[in-house]
């Protein structure tokens, strides 16, 4: 286990080849460091003294050569050392993470995510930095020290002894300071982890914070920790710089002694001047390695603290092994037998007590009971998510506790009430279980190449009722260029068919693009261009800034009316929405965004009633921008006068001429025969836009679009595109119901023998719930063992068994009618719910 190894283990066992190379380089460097000193001595004593120019040149050249080589070697040493550190860090980090994700669920109940994150990132990084130099740095510096020491000793033993005599004091003093420093540093690690937790928590709970304006409250939590950190850091600095000070102080005592005694010896003629110069240089050279050693020592201490803290934090074993070591993985058939099961958490709190339950393969069993009665706990124990303490759970003939993850997970689907959705695409989320099995070396048949076949995914979408959602994601996609090339032409060909067949029926839901009419459901800017900029970006944002476009507006006499429209929009919108700034909801139908309210309120107050001539150019520009983004059909508080609409319409063809002359490649113009790269798939099929993003408008067009896509064999293609929908962090771009459907699809796609669902359909609307129920009742009935924590009792009428739970026990068990007849707890539940 990675976290069990001592710190030195890593430095001593990893990258041995490189470490050896490093040592060779180090020895060479040291040689090249001492060599100049000898040259120095000879320059003074030999060349200068005896006026030998040739010797001077030679010594200087050698000196220079040695210095350059020493520099190059030092560079190589640094690079290698850095690489070794990062290599080991990589191994440590991935290994630690592999350990961390396998830790049991109860561990994460008491561990905050911030602490884990800060361990794997910052804390570990300091360990890596240290490990890179763990061998090289002490080796270089001790060797350098020794060499210089020996060299000094050969020059003058007395002086040499005197100048190193001060080091022992340091060696005694510094560790004492360091020990205090370490204690503070350990506290700092704790505090930093707490800080990560608080920040992480605030981000996950941002909705709650906004809802309560809990800003000051949250800031206070961080403030407290930040203050502790400030204090700790300050005290740590006192020690750290105390160590530095001690070091420097003793170091600068040296030359003092040397001058005094060396000078005396030199005057009395017992020591050559050249030797004194060399000696002083050598002494100076002692400083660097000594300093590096000190820093190494401090780095070592920091790393030791960090490493120990990480070891302590994750010194937990996974509850279940990953793979069987002595046999092949088993294939489960779907029988589950629970016998006298007991499940306790810390403090001997008994969550399950004497639970017994027998489920044959293919049976459907429901767990019911009031909330808190232990249904979820039992479901999780049966799904091998908790390790039980006493009693037995057998799947087929195997004790669940003794099976490995690879035995169980491929055959067991678990859907929790709030399935977790990972950042990524919808597809990645749905194939999660399959993908995991593949990486674990146990792929389902057909997956060896990497992914489940598309048809299978689509079938699963259909079962859980996600098809329509995925279709919608697909239709709302703006294709990237590669896909666009492959698909564009076929889509364009659909347009005409669509028009012929559906344009009348969909008139109230769709506004078709038409060069000859004003588009109420597109912005004013789009109405002028009747196209989009090639470089991307929204026309209403980039156009007002372009002088050429402004000139055009002036030429066609649109600028003034548009600025007037902008001012009118301000006058109508600001008074309406200024009191509603605390809820972004009200700004959905507003041309002015919530963030812009301040700007526009200012304009409203200063210039609301002013004549246009009095508006400063900057305000005019802002108002022009506002007018250009107005979508008359959507922004109800605005009215675009009929004359203005006509003028805009007239400018359309002029604009195209104007641009074709000056900048023919700036815009793509809507054309009935070309794919519009900047518009969505749907808009390309319709050659128009939906008037409302409301569900009824979608319902209206879905039938038409599906019909057409199926006929042209494009339906699956669009679904495939929809599967690439990025769901956002934690699936934020999906509704609660959609997330649940994804969770169910994820479990179904594994083709499990046992399906355990914990109120898995609770956030679904009736229609979706019924659909999934139908699937469970029909398609898979008898083939899969279903254990379902039920929240709606009418859905479990014909289940094979219903287990009624109360305070961690099963108190009644039987079929629906039997239990109702019994007039016990189940009867009460039915009538309480009724």
């Amino acid at each position: 286990m990675i976290h069990k190894k001592p710190l030195w283990y890593w430095a001593l066992t990893r990258c041995r080849g490189l470490q050896a190379l490093l040592l060779i380089l180090i020895v060479l460097t040291i040689f090249f460091r001492v060599f100049p000193l000898e040259m120095q001595k000879r320059i003074v004593n030999d060349a200068i003294r005896f006026r030998k120019i040739d010797a001077l040149y030679l010594y200087c050249a050698l000196y220079l050569g040695a210095v350059v080589l020493a520099g190059i070697f030092k560079y190589a040493i640094n690079v290698i050392q850095g690489y070794i550190g990062q290599r080991i860090l990589y191994e440590l980090r991935t290994g630690l993470y592999r350990h961390i994700v396998r830790l049991p669920i109860p561990f994460y109940r008491r561990t905050a995510p911030g602490m884990v994150i800060s361990s794997v990132t910052g804390e570990l990084a300091s360990v890596g930095d240290f490990l890179g130099g763990a061998i090289a740095v002490p080796a270089v510096n001790v060797l350098t020290l020794l060499t210089f020491g020996v060299y000094m000793f050969t020059l003058n033993p007395l002086l040499a002894v005197l100048s190193v005599a001060i080091y022992p004091f340091e060696i005694l003093l510094i560790p004492m300071l360091q020990k205090r420093f370490n204690r503070l540093n350990s506290e700092r690690v704790t505090t930093t982890r707490k800080l990560s937790n608080v920040v992480g928590e605030a981000i996950s709970g941002i909705q709650e914070i906004h809802a309560n304006a809990g800003y000051a409250l949250e800031a206070r939590k961080v403030d407290r920790l930040a203050k502790t950190l400030l204090d700790l850091r300050h005290r740590m600095n006192l020690y750290r710089y105390g160590i530095k000070f001690t070091n420097n102080f003793f170091q600068s005592l040296g030359p003092f002694l040397l001058f005094l005694i060396g000078g005396y010896l030199s005057i009395t003629g017992r020591f050559s001047l050249g030797a004194l110069v060399a000696f002083l240089s050598a002494y100076e050279k002692l400083y660097d390695p000594w300093k590096e050693l000190m820093e190494f020592y401090q780095g070592y201490q920091d790393a030791r603290v960090a490493y120990r803290r990480i070891q302590e934090a994750f010194d937990v074993e996974p509850e279940f092994p990953l793979k069987p070591s002595d046999r092949a993985p088993v294939a489960l058939q779907g029988a589950v037998t629970v016998q006298d099961l007991m499940f306790e958490v810390e403090d001997r709190v008994r969550l399950l007590d004497q639970v017994s339950l027998q489920v044959s393969p293919g049976e459907r069993v429901a767990l019911v009971g009031l909330s808190g009665s232990g249904k979820s706990t039992l479901a999780m124990v049966m799904a091998q998510l908790y390790r039980y303490t006493q009693g037995h759970v057998y799947v087929d003939q195997w004790e669940l506790k003794d099976l490995t993850k690879i035995d169980v997970t491929p055959h067991l689907g678990f859907v929790s009430q709030y399935p977790f959705i990972f950042d990524g695409t919808l597809k990645e989320n749905i194939v999660y279980g399959r993908q995991a099995a593949l990486l674990n070396g146990n792929p389902l048949p057909g997956d060896e190449t990497g992914e489940p076949p598309l048809e299978e995914i689509l079938r699963t979408l259909e079962f859980v009722g996600l098809t329509e959602d995925v279709l919608r994601f697909g239709l709302n996609t703006v294709l990237d260029e590669a896909k666009e090339k492959a698909l564009g032409e076929r889509i364009v060909r659909l347009r005409q068919q669509f028009r012929d067949q559906w344009s009348d029926a969909l008139q109230d839901a769709v506004e078709f693009f038409d060069a000859k009419t004003f588009l109420d459901y597109s912005s004013v800017a789009v109405n002028i261009i009747f196209g989009y900029p090639v470089d991307g970006g929204r026309p209403c944002e980039i156009l007002p800034l372009r002088p050429r476009f402004r000139r055009f507006l002036k030429e066609v006499e649109l600028e003034e009316p548009l600025v007037r429209l902008g001012l009118d929009v301000v006058n109508r919108t600001v008074p309406l929405l200024r009191d509603l700034r605390d809820d972004p909801f009200f700004f959905r139908q507003s041309p002015i965004a919530l963030e812009e309210m301040d700007t526009f309120q200012e304009i409203y107050e200063h210039y609301g009633a002013a004549p246009l001539e009095r508006l400063p150019p900057s305000v005019q520009e802002v108002l022009l921008g506002l007018a250009l983004r107005v979508v008359p059909g959507k922004h109800k508080m605005v009215v675009v006068p009929r004359e203005l609409k006509e003028a805009i319409l007239k400018s359309r063809s002029l604009f195209q001429q104007y641009c074709l002359q000056r900048d023919p490649n700036a815009f793509v113009y809507y054309s009935d025969t070309a794919y519009l790269g900047a518009r969505t798939l749907l808009e390309n099929i319709l050659f128009g836009r939906l008037k409302e993003e409301d569900s009824w408008a979608w319902a209206r067009i879905t039938e038409a679009v599906v019909d057409l896509l199926k006929r042209e064999n494009l339906f699956h293609t669009v679904l495939e595109i929809g599967l690439d929908f990025p769901v956002g962090s934690k699936g934020d771009r999906l509704s609660g119901g959609q997330k649940q459907k994804v969770g169910i699809a994820r479990a179904f796609l594994k083709h499990p023998r046992i399906l355990i669902m914990d109120e898995a359909t609770a956030s679904l609307d009736m229609a979706s719930q019924n659909r999934i129920q139908q699937f469970l009742d029909g398609e898979i009935r008898g083939k899969i063992t279903v254990i379902s924590v039920a929240h709606r009792l009418e859905t479990i009428r014909d289940y094979d068994k219903i287990a009624v739970m109360k305070s961690g026990r099963i108190v009644e068990i039987g079929r629906y009618d039997e239990l109702v007849e019994k007039k016990g707890l189940f009867y009460e539940l039915v009538h309480g719910h009724g």
Partner: protein
Amino acid sequence: MSWSMDMDKRDHELSSAEPTFTCELDDNVEWLRKTDIFSTIPLERLRIYALMCNRRRFRQGDFLFRQGQPDDKGYLILSGKVQMVREYRDHSVIVQDLEPGAFFGGLALLADIRRLFGARAATDVEVLYIDRETFRKILRQFPELTEKILDVMIKRIVSMEEKILEKHLHECVLE
């Protein structure tokens, strides 16, 4: 639930066609003002309701909502006629005909209920509708409106109950 029994059936000269200089919002305000529920609301607040409403057309014969189904909207007819239909096991009864200006289905704005009647477009119809989430968000912003709206709604319910009771009494006497 239909508490559209005592709908005011004044003539509405306003049409839904967009005149040159009033915006859709102003137009919505005019419509809303003429209903009993919204008439008590001060104009500047009413403009917010008017902003957050949407329009929608139904073809003749389409159902706006069906009996027994959940639906979260209140409707105001702008043009055309709507029939409230109560379905029984083997037949259905037209409970009421509604005309432009009628506001119906409003109980759904207050609570998550199932419809007691269906509403069917008797002609091509255009309605203005608001959904529960929006309606509640506005009330949350301006809690002082709650009382006024509840007042009218409760009066409507009471008057309807009265009618039902009277009818029952009548039937009992006959038997």
